[in-house]
Amino acid sequence: MDFGGVNPVLLLASLMVAATPIMLAAIGELVVERAGVLNLGVEGMMIVGSVLGFVAATGTDSAWVGFVVAALGGAGMAVLFGVLTQFFLSNQVATGLALTLFGLGLASLMGQGYLGIKAPSFPDWHIPVLGDIPVIGPIVFQHDPMVYVGLGIVAGVWWFLNRTRGGLILRAVGENHEAAHGLGYSVRRVRMLAIMFGGACAGLGGAYLSIVRVPTYAEGLTAGAGWIALAIVVFASWRPGRLLLGAYLFGGVTVLQLNLQAAGVAIPVEYLSMSPYIATILVLVIMSAGGAPGSLGKTFHASR
């Protein structure tokens, strides 16, 4: 079942793996932005997560430990951003950009001794019964656990935002922080928690790259994945369902173009490499509807 050297089952299966790091980073940023904070440091938090996760995973020979450490590292970076923007009221855009640059530098410093090492193995789950279904089984139910953790986080975020009081408060804070403050909700606390969650998700996304997807550490490993995650959040109109679609679309075209390159299609490689970015943005622009959270990116000060 090959089409010009591309096997559709393998393609769809690797799509889910390719989409996972971006999906993780984007769902974290979605929560942050729904709380009214624009953190442009996703790329930096991802790469710090990828190196910390890799170091911890190779040190303990356990990928799981790697993921936990990466999440903590990402959250730590996010706390730095949160303290600067929420307590010292620094500009969110500038602080986020600085966080990315800082993260890139920090990661190459920490990763120096780990270049070219292979990550500990992280075996795929073969989910009983479901994994045995022909075609669908290998595509959907034979992946490593983090793929499902990522999907679980997306579903959890959807449920939290739309079905819980906590989610309602978070959306309220993002929509109109002054009114939320007037009703007695702690804008800073809600935002700090959201920022930390966003950092942890970005860290997980980064670690997924270094531990599972590549799986080794290299400098500049994230290669702009954090920026794509940011774009996906915007074009998904801040909705978890659309975000999933955007991430899978990006993952799908990424895998497809790699396969096409391998199959030697007569299109210049540069065009193929561009294609996932163009396709994702095009589709999401066409779909995009609904506005940004009302207080997105604005500095909150209780006395105003």
Binding site: R165, L168, I169, R171, A172, E175, N176, E178, A179, A180, G182, L183, G184, Y185, G291, P293, G294, R304
Partner: protein
Amino acid sequence: MTQATGDQALMVLDGLTKAYPGVIANKDVSFELKRGEVHALLGENGAGKSTLVKTIYGLVKPDSGTMTLAGRPFAPSDPHTARASGIAMVFQHFSLFDALDVAENVALGMENPPPLRDLAQRIRDVSETYGLPLDPTRTVGDLSAGERQRVEIIRCLLQDPSVLIMDEPTSVLTPQEVDILFETLRKLRDEGTAILYISHKLEEIRALCDHATILRLGAVVGTCDPKSTSARDMAEMMVGGSLHVPEREARPAGDMLMQIKGLSVKSPSEFGTSLKDISLEVRAGDVLGIGGVAGNGQDELLAALSGEITAGRGQIFFKDQDIGKLKPDARRGLGLCAAPEERMGHAAAPDMSLVENAALTARKRKNLTRKGFLDWRGARSFADEIIKRFDVRTPGSGNAARSLSGGNLQKFVIGREILQDPQVLIVNQPTWGVDAAAAASIRQALLDLAAKGAAIIVISQDLDELMEISDSFAALNEGRLSAPRPTLGLTVEDIGLMLGGAHDMEVAHVD
């Protein structure tokens, strides 16, 4: 009737003082609030009313002084504590979330809200009981000002408060809506709720309140029984001087300045009201008042006249020129200025300074550009002139528009347009949330402008205001404008008929 459930004070405020850098917001304020009374808190903008109620609601901590509630010391650390103790508040600037629906907004203001589906049912029940029609599934961003206030009121009512604070509740309501609100408040009072009622509108206070405390410059300057005190006496206590009532002189009809012929435009908002076949004309020196229930096309009419929405050919004429296709800037250039209702974000850019805000609309008419560059010195002196002429209270023209109180910003916005010497000026709700003295001076400024030969279209929900300043009156109902009639000799019944009557209120908000 007024002494409903005993004389025992429910809430006692004793010597509350709160100072901010450079200003004392409250100075040794003491008064008592009884069960089952409507207690008015009167004062000009900046008299300290808002700080006082924020103290009660737990948003502000007093520097000194104590409060007791039902005999026990009461010092709420935040609004949650205040709400848990039975205090509810309807804010002057609505504390609503535009992107969320009515039920979600209500849930956010409650301590232990039921699941949203049950809550929606309770909202329907309460809104029917108190005659405040409201659909819990609507998105708040699409509601009119009057409907938004209902959201706030219902949010409070669902918590069975023992003290209800209303901060300027009627400033956005029509007479019919005010009547409904008063019915609701009287009902609550008779059920034993203590209501603290803040308003500038003295006649309302006389109609509704049992007791009044008057604040000036942060201190209590008097108390009275509003039912037996004249509005004029109360106003004088409030401003510490005598009130200025606008004057008008008879004059002959002037030249035709603006003509609208069969104007129909579609509302840009899905839930807005489209304008249907509107015709009117104003001549030099005319003041045309346009009344109507909120959400009947007021915003759309202002936008169509100012140029924010453009119209088809042959619908809008300025003198003899068809200006239907012109944008606001071009219309301004011709001498047609406008001030929309929403001052923060529409009439003024909140984070820009007053100088910048002045330059934004006056650039053309005040020649504030030189070879393509902005003349900042000219803009600054123009802003300073507005501040001086219209008594805008601010430390200086370099301050952000956001830092001004609503009433002060309103004075600035109106002043900015008036001082550009427009030939036609269109204003929507020119005195919303402005205190009595400032409102009177804004009205006088509008009349002075008309006396100089400009035509003025005032869109307002304050009928008293329209009767006071306009030569002719028309009403908007579902996007249609009634034929204008001379104000002189118009009776309340006539106006009621023109507005379409209170029974149409629900219909008026659909489609």
